[in-house]
Symmetry: C2
Subunit: 373 residues, 2 copies
């Protein structure tokens, strides 16, 4: 019968065109630490937001890299502590937001991220300062999750940290920030949002609240991603893609992700695919096997999205990915047959792999990878 | 282009069969005050939950009446203060939950509800104790809103109070509690949930997150309400109706309701209809006029729910109401033509009336009422 579920998503959402220039109304305290990346330094967006905080003491950290490292986190935390930050603002894609989440905690939790993450022995105490996340891509949904993904560079391992202290106080979602996103990034981040939605929907921990959100997010991506890639200034397509990312984020914040994300970890750290591409590349293959344990539910989804069968949905996603310029075969990322065993093992090492609605073991994962080599 | 919206729903949801007997895991502190109604005293449900809190000091208040009065609130608050409650549990339909919400605040806010509500001059300070809401009907959604509706008996006025201190810490949603709900209550509370969903969907303050939830909730009600009325022990129908109520509650917690609820207030206080019936009775008429300002959106909804036109949807709801034994004409509640002007005026006095997607003035509201007399 009906399974148990829990749901908790306490982030205040402030959504709309231009909202990112009005954030001062939400901020108490004088010392603001903005965490962003080199690209948003160069195009001046971070400074525009900083300048809108008239009368505040604003400092910046622009050293967030893709797949952000624990070392970057600790460096940023040191600077935030030094300025006695009252508020940390994360501005950027998933990387900057993820760094801002843990840094906002470390301001009043001493030590390094390693003390709290991946085998660290300390528990985060309640966050005492404000955390605001402002996404500049439409994909990660990080602004509405309690997850941060960090990379231990020495060990070469990328791992998620899940903690209720990582919920932002505010997610400020302003689609105008995505006008300058290049088509390739629009494509890969948009497909990341689609993956979040479908992985929430077919998840072993799915629930009816998130199912509805997931369906809505998938429909929004399918209806808008091509236009957003072709016409970067198209208001409606940009707004809808931002909504899709947000709604998919809420959905997977409750369920976590599945095999698609589990396999993306080695593809990003070892084959340097960006996150969205590394997820999307296995998506059609996962859709094809999702009927094993979610047959009826996946058939309903396919129908809702305008396809006759789950297989047709998988093929439709595959065709869409080709159209928007995403790779659809692992060999396009430089993966060789001899790499598949290792990717299989790393993927199976992620606990989320077993939330996939199909049997996931060395044989099935290897086969899946081989089918898209 | 895309409108601004905000979203905030910080309640922790704990959903599943039997969850109401496991609430002790969420409760800190020793003094528990359970607020419920005479029916749940008689059938022993409140005591079952109280007994599950082994080792705690549990006191009960069973005097919650339909359309709860400010006097009942103050009486309960006095008892909760006297026992120095660490946690208030509301158990029941919307009335008991609404009383529990404000009482949990009044434990550490001195004075009467009148000091804080409907023209009162004081602001509620942050709630200091735990508030848990456990619904026993599938309809009000009160467990996931920051609204309480209270009646000033002397003035004969029923008015909502909206305050962020009224968010529960926990909503414990256990469909097994609805097995004993009589068919008439299943019908009226279920249609209340449908009203919440459609009023969130066509609301002037609608947003894409709540739209998806609302659509899902409406579909669940339409697919399950008849079975739940006919077979009170049908696990699946009861579970789905409880989900519908919860999901619709989340949706309207963000948008508020519209004309349907505005007109229900005089119909409950003056014509003694129960809340769900008082809402549902005007619903088909409101659906018929909703195309005025939400034409495209309502057409999409009708199609999604299996109807060709919005008018067909209205007629389908009307037929469903007759089938499950709900009145469909105001005269069935004892309303006379000479009452319509007064009902119109009271309805227009509620601010939510203007969130309806149609022109709402003395003429249009009177016409709407007359059409269903």
């Amino acid at each position: 019968m009906e399974g148990l579920f829990q749901y908790f998503m306490p982030v205040k959402l402030c959504v709309g065109a231009g909202e990112s220039r009005k954030v001062s109304q939400y901020i108490k305290g004088d010392n603001i630490f903005i965490i962003s990346d080199p690209f948003l330094y160069q195009n001046g967006l971070a400074q525009t937001i900083g300048d809108s905080l008239a009368g505040k003491n604003v400092k910046y950290f622009f050293e967030v890299e893709p797949n952000p490292s624990c070392e970057s986190v600790d460096k940023a935390a040191g600077q935030a502590r030094e300025m006695k930050a009252d508020c940390v603002i994360g501005l950027g894609g998933g990387s900057a937001l993820d760094v801002s989440k843990i840094v906002s905690c470390l301001v009043t939790n001493e030590g390094s991220i390693y003390d709290y993450y991946a085998g660290g022995s300390r528990q985060l105490k309640k966050r005492e300062i404000t955390l605001m996340c402002i996404p500049t891509t439409a994909g990660t949904g990080s602004e509405v999750t309690n997850v941060g993904v960090y990379t231990n560079k020495k060990a070469g391992i990328k791992m998620p940290m899940v903690n209720d202290e990582l919920w932002a106080d505010y997610a400020v979602v302003d689609y105008e920030l995505t006008y300058t996103l290049p088509a390739a990034m629009t494509a890969s981040t948009g497909m990341d949002a689609f993956c979040h939605a479908i992985e929430a929907y077919w998840n072993k921990g799915a629930n009816p609240v998130c199912d509805m959100l997931a369906i809505g997010a998938m429909e929004l991506v399918l209806n808008n991603i091509e236009i957003a890639c072709q016409k970067p200034q198209d208001d409606e397509a940009r707004a809808k893609m931002m909504e899709a990312s947000l709604i998919a984020g809420i959905a997977f914040s409750q369920t976590r992700t599945t095999g698609v994300h589990a396999l993306s970890f080695p593809l990003t750290t070892e084959f340097h695919a960006n996150h969205g591409t590394a997820c999307a590349i296995t998506l059609p293959a996962f859709i094809k096997i999702s009927e094993e344990k979610q047959g009826e539910k996946m058939k309903r989804l396919a129908k809702y999205l305008g396809y006759n069968t789950v297989d047709e949905l998988a093929n439709g996603i595959w065709a869409l990915m080709k159209k928007i310029g995403l790779p659809v075969r692992l060999s396009q990322l430089g993966v060789k047959e001899t790499d598949l065993q290792h990717i299989t093992e790393v993927g199976l090492g992620a606990v989320i792999m077993q939330l996939t609605p199909a049997t996931m073991n060395e044989e099935t994962v290897y086969q899946l990878l081989q089918s898209i080599l």
